[in-house]
């Protein structure tokens, strides 16, 4: 299933936040969206998954979601959004319970996704017992449990320290190599965008417009941290973004 963002614009009152965004999200690819803070990239992600309604334009779904997909468009949030009163298994069960799968099938799915995210031994832990990285793994396991067609990841690593971020990035790449999931990955971190994106969409500062779309041919699992090609792409992206980021930084926050 492919997604297409079609001529999408959005205004809050008189304030234009996104302007004429058109974008293809082909199946099996990770599309990174980067931009300076306040450029509306997270808002764009909320439109893509139907959590908010744009003023103009639409999101088009091409083809059917795969058989057995319980929630085709599934988010991974920056702040994990785990229920603190449920265990790891309980948090995953939460998103399955409404589908009437039967407890055996549900249990099977939970065991399976926990194994895929290397969380099996933390099944009965409460979120407060887990580190930030582990919490985000649980959130990713929860997303995998509903067998999504597209994962919508909203700065999933931004709340983590840099070492955990590296580890989790490697895990995400492993996961993609195994499962070839489709994802939209919103971040303000250039290195993440370059490591994880097949396409990198650069948004300008508000009102967010597409400045540039860069395609990286190197397969995700062949990309190394020290790869000079990636470094030069990152450098180029930074030169595009630098002025935007600086200008965005100097803007007054609107009251």
């Amino acid at each position: 299933m492919d997604l297409r963002v079609d001529a999408l614009s959005h205004r809050y009152g008189n304030l234009e936040v996104l302007s004429d965004i058109s974008l293809d999200i082909p199946a099996g690819q990770v599309v990174s969206i980067i931009g300076p803070s306040g450029c509306g990239k997270s808002t764009l992600l909320r439109f893509i998954g139907g959590l908010e309604r744009p003023s103009e334009g639409q999101i088009i779904q091409r083809g059917q979601p795969p058989e057995g997909s319980l929630n085709p468009l599934t988010y991974v949030f920056q702040d994990f959004a785990l229920l603190p009163w449920r265990t790891v298994a309980g948090n995953i069960a939460l998103v399955l319970e409404d589908h009437g799968l039967g407890s055996a099938r549900q249990d099977e799915i939970i065991t399976n996704v926990l194994a895929r995210t290397k969380l099996s031994e933390f099944r009965d832990a409460l979120p407060k017992q887990l580190s930030g990285g582990m919490k985000q793994r649980v959130a990713i396991a929860r997303a995998l449990a509903v067998n999504p067609a597209v994962m919508l990841m909203d700065e999933p690593l931004s709340a983590l320290d840099s070492q955990t971020r590296e580890l989790l990035m490697d895990d995400l790449i492993d996961l993609w190599a195994r499962e070839r999931f489709t994802a939209v990955y919103v971040t303000h971190n250039l290195a993440e965008a370059v490591r994880l994106g097949h396409q990198i969409v650069v948004l300008s500062r508000r009102p967010g417009k597409i400045r540039e779309i860069i395609t990286i041919e190197t397969p995700l699992d062949a990309r190394r941290r020290s790869d000079p090609e990636l470094a030069s792409i990152e450098e180029r992206l930074w030169s595009v973004m630098r002025d935007e980021a600086q200008a965005a930084d100097l803007e007054l926050v609107d009251g």
Binding site: N71, T74, D79, L83, P84, W85, E97, D98, L126, V146
Partner: protein, 289 residues
């Protein structure tokens, strides 16, 4: 490593040499940095509370024994204890305690349950909020005791009016605490629920209600304390049995020992209610960090 040791030794020698010039001076360089952190953190010291109680009672007993405190103003703690023994032996204790506990349990259960239900509805539905918040704000500041005569007309002189008084008194703070708690449930969790297409009922039952629990519990603490106050008020105004009636009777006979015994039972009731609530809270809110 050896190098570092050597270096620090060297420094120490220098310092000793400098110190030799000015004996007894604290030295110029070496003052320890004074600790000034800690904030206003409180920590629990479990023994201080009981000790304060024991000391207060001991001073009181000593004062009344020696006549330093006139026995017209305060009874002897030992006499109050004697009154307790008598209450226990004659069975009068339960004759008064059971009706009081029943009134408290029935009245506050009705009030708190209704309060939680209405509070959740105010939290969830804009229309209910718009309609009921002003009503609750209007009822809240009325001293409920003032309504007892009205309740006696409506529900009779028996148990009904007492239940109604306690129920109304616990209801309003419970409503306010509950809708505040619902408002405070983490919105990102609710959005998460919607992003997984959970049904409305699932979001309410599995996200909103558990998320509101901490606030509901703090509301319960306030409401139940108000419940005890209203229990006594109701019993003073129209009951033959009950702790309130017992205290009123002792007061009108100027029987200070019995009056104090009654007051101590109430205070103990408050402590027990709080303790039990604490135990339940620890179990239900185990997930809190």
């Amino acid at each position: 490593m050896a190098d570092t040791t050597h270096h620090s030794l060297g420094a120490q020698t220098e310092r000793t040499a400098a110190g030799a010039d000015k004996p007894h001076s604290a030295g110029e360089a070496n003052t320890t940095v004074r600790y000034r952190g800690g904030g206003f953190r409180t920590h629990s010291i479990f023994w201080v509370g009981p000790v304060v109680f024991v000391v207060l009672i001991a001073v009181w007993e000593w004062g009344t024994q020696t006549g330093f405190i006139s026995n017209l103003t305060l009874p002897k703690p030992s006499d109050v204890l004697g009154t307790f023994g008598e209450l226990w032996r004659t069975g009068t204790l339960f004759e008064h305690l059971i009706p009081s506990l029943t009134r408290f349990a029935v009245g506050s259960a009705m009030g708190c349950l209704a309060g939680v239900i209405i509070g959740v509805m105010i939290g969830l539905f804009s229309h209910v909020r718009a309609g009921l918040v002003p009503v609750v704000a209007a009822i809240f500041p009325i001293p409920k005791i003032a309504l007892l005569p009205l309740f006696i007309i409506w529900f009779g002189i028996g148990e009904g009016s007492k239940y109604a008084l306690i129920a109304l008194g616990t209801f309003t703070p419970m409503v306010v605490a509950t809708y505040g708690a619902v408002d405070n449930v983490d919105r990102t969790l609710i959005r998460m629920g919607q992003s997984f297409s959970l049904s409305w009922a699932s979001i309410v039952r599995k996200i909103v209600l558990p998320g509101a629990m901490p606030g509901i519990f703090s509301g319960l603490r306030v409401s139940l304390a108000i419940g005890i106050i209203l229990l006594v008020a109701a019993e003073m105004l129209g009951a033959r049995r009950g702790i309130g009636a017992y205290i009123l009777e002792a007061g009108s006979l100027y029987d200070l020992e019995r009056l104090f015994a009654g007051v101590i039972i109430l205070s103990a009731l408050g402590v027990v209610v709080n303790f039990v609530l604490g135990l339940i809270e620890d179990r239900v809110l185990r997930w809190r960090s």
